[in-house]
């Protein structure tokens, strides 16, 4: 700060008054006064101002103050402390100091950015306190300073670190959100792909069925036609599973009761035997999609066999049951296909038949073994499904 170029003469007079007050203090507190000695010698920068003089000038500054600010004693005595302020000094801190003096507060403390003579800055922890006489009138202000640049720097860097951390967290959050969006888009395209594949599988199954059907209608012999229709039935059984697979909300599991019901109804309708009645005893039992096709083929073989061989002349009843078994029985499920026809001995599902071989093979793939029983009258085939191939039921199961 450089303001000595054009001082008005009264300002010069004021400074001389301040010098005189300083000299008076010196005289009153000469060598031997321990309080004065302490203030003169302490390493804490201290000044005394005189509020009764115009503009509250500095009348005393100790060596520590001069050392801190870089000014000589001549340069500070007689001047208001504001020469320590600079362009980056917080105006609200200055206003707070002024208010503390106006309100004659007994003590005041604040951190304020001050400037040395050479223009460098330091954070000043300012402590301000009035010196009163016996009547309480304020004669002087006592101000101690402390260079807290180091602490301030730490505070700043803590704040900066916090801000940097916030930025980092913000960036990470954005990244996470973006990758979530990307994942969702990928999942969407995977679902799309899955549906396209499913569509193709269904169409191909339809084409295969059409081919077999056409060929069966053109077969040279009734035996050839029957063999082809047997294959058609098996393809259609697979179709029943695939048709259901993407109609429900979940693609990874199927309700055995639903596709077994569809399949049996389909087979009885195809037989053209109005004298055979289907009876169902079903409850929802979910199976993993990879196990649905073998199970559908088993149902196809069992029901087809009953239709073809159990009822030679008279009609009858085919019962299809799908039920969960209790925890005591292993927590799986049981599928039963039962007829009240002529019984096992006359049936093709006897040992050595193709249908029986297929059922045994498919059952072993599902980790189970069919039980062939005589129901008197008729035949009962029981298939216990291990819990490992079952899936947990949907929240809402189809009726």
């Amino acid at each position: 700060m450089n303001d000595n170029s054009a001082e008005a003469s009264d300002a010069a007079e004021n400074r001389r008054a301040a010098f005189r007050m300083g000299e008076q203090l010196d005289r009153e507190h000469a060598a031997g006064d321990p309080f004065a000695a302490a203030i003169r010698r302490t390493r804490m920068p201290i000044i005394i101002t005189d509020p009764r003089q115009p503009d509250n000038p500095i009348v005393f500054a100790n060596d520590a103050f001069l050392k801190l600010t870089g000014y000589s004693r001549d340069e500070v005595i007689g001047r208001n402390c504001r020469f320590l302020q600079g362009p980056d000094t917080d105006r609200s801190a200055v206003a707070a100091i002024r208010r503390a003096i106006e309100e004659e507060r007994d003590q005041f403390r604040c951190d304020i950015l001050n400037y040395r003579k050479d223009g460098t800055t330091f954070w000043n922890s300012l402590f301000l306190s009035p010196v009163r006489d016996e009547t309480g009138a304020i004669h002087f202000y006592f101000a101690s300073q402390q260079d807290v640049t180091h602490r301030k720097a730490e505070e700043m860097s803590t704040r900066e670190r916090a801000e940097a951390l916030e930025l980092e967290v913000g960036a990470r959050t954005r990244e996470l959100r973006e990758s979530l969006n990307r994942l969702a888009a990928e999942a969407d395209s995977k679902t799309l792909l899955l549906h396209e594949l499913d569509h193709r599988v269904k169409n191909n199954l339809q084409t295969i069925a059409a081919l077999i059907g056409m060929q069966a209608r053109r077969a040279a012999s009734p035996e050839a036609a029957e063999a082809l229709l047997g294959v058609l039935g098996r393809v259609e059984a697979l179709g029943t599973v695939h048709r259901r697979l993407y109609q429900d909300r979940r693609v990874d599991r199927l309700d055995i009761a639903v596709f077994a019901h569809d399949l049996a109804q389909d087979l009885v309708a195809r037989s053209g035997r109005a004298d055979i009645v289907l009876r169902f005893d079903l409850e929802p039992v979910m199976i993993g999609h990879q196990h649905a096709a073998p199970l559908a083929l088993i149902v196809n073989e069992l029901v087809t066999n009953a239709l073809r061989h159990a009822f030679r002349h008279d009609g009858g009843e085919i019962r299809l049951a799908v039920r969960r078994t209790g925890e005591a029985d292993g927590g799986g499920a049981r599928l039963v296909v039962e007829d009240d026809g002529v019984g096992l001995p006359g049936q093709e599902l006897g040992r050595g038949s193709f249908g029986r071989l297929a059922v045994e093979l498919l059952a072993s793939q599902l980790g189970t073994k069919p039980l062939w029983q005589t129901a008197e009258p008729g035949t009962r085939v029981v298939l216990d499904l291990p819990p490992a191939i079952l899936a947990r039921p949907l929240e809402e199961t189809r009726p």
């Binding site: 269904k202 069925a209 059409a210 056409m214 058609l232 109804q265 389909d266 309708a269 109005a274």
Partner: protein, 153 residues
């Protein structure tokens, strides 16, 4: 299975083999096939010309996924429409005016049962529920006597 009322049927299917096999199955079941169409324009033209009782319409045709709109036009011309598709989700909520959908892959007997139900519904009334192979449009409701009708008797 009782013999259903014979229907005059239009087959709208872009895959020649499926269309041909479908025609054979329909004829075997006693129905008359008035024609096969592989594009939407062909389908609409044939429907207006031959005035069939029923059109079986695939969603995907040679000119693209135009089956839904073709079905709407055919339905407006006075023919009962059933969609036949592997992609049931493609069908709009209002079924584009169609009576229902037969999901692919359908079986021969599933097709026969569905047609028997539609035949009955066109001729005096069918007794619900429809066979599992036929998914009816949600706007169709049974009459007061509990039977489904697709056209006033």
């Amino acid at each position: 299975m009782s013999r259903p009322a014979p229907l005059r049927v239009l087959v709208v299917e872009d895959e020649a083999l499926l269309a041909f096999a479908l025609q054979e199955e329909l004829e075997e079941a006693g129905h008359e096939v008035v024609g096969r169409a592989a594009t939407s324009a062909e389908a609409i033209g044939l429907a207006r010309q031959a005035r069939p009782d029923l059109a079986l319409v695939d969603v995907h045709l040679l000119d693209g996924p135009t089956g839904v709109e073709a079905g709407r036009a055919i339905g407006e011309a006075g023919t009962v429409v059933l969609f036949m598709t592997a992609n049931v989700k493609r069908i709009p909520a209002d079924f584009a005016g169609a009576a229902g959908v037969i999901a692919k892959p359908y079986s021969a007997s599933g097709l026969a049962s569905a047609l028997a139900f539609v035949g009955a519904a066109l001729d005096g009334g069918a007794t619900p529920p429809p066979p599992w192979s036929l998914q009816l449009a949600p706007h169709l409701r049974p009459a007061e006597d509990g039977r489904m009708r697709l056209r006033p008797p």
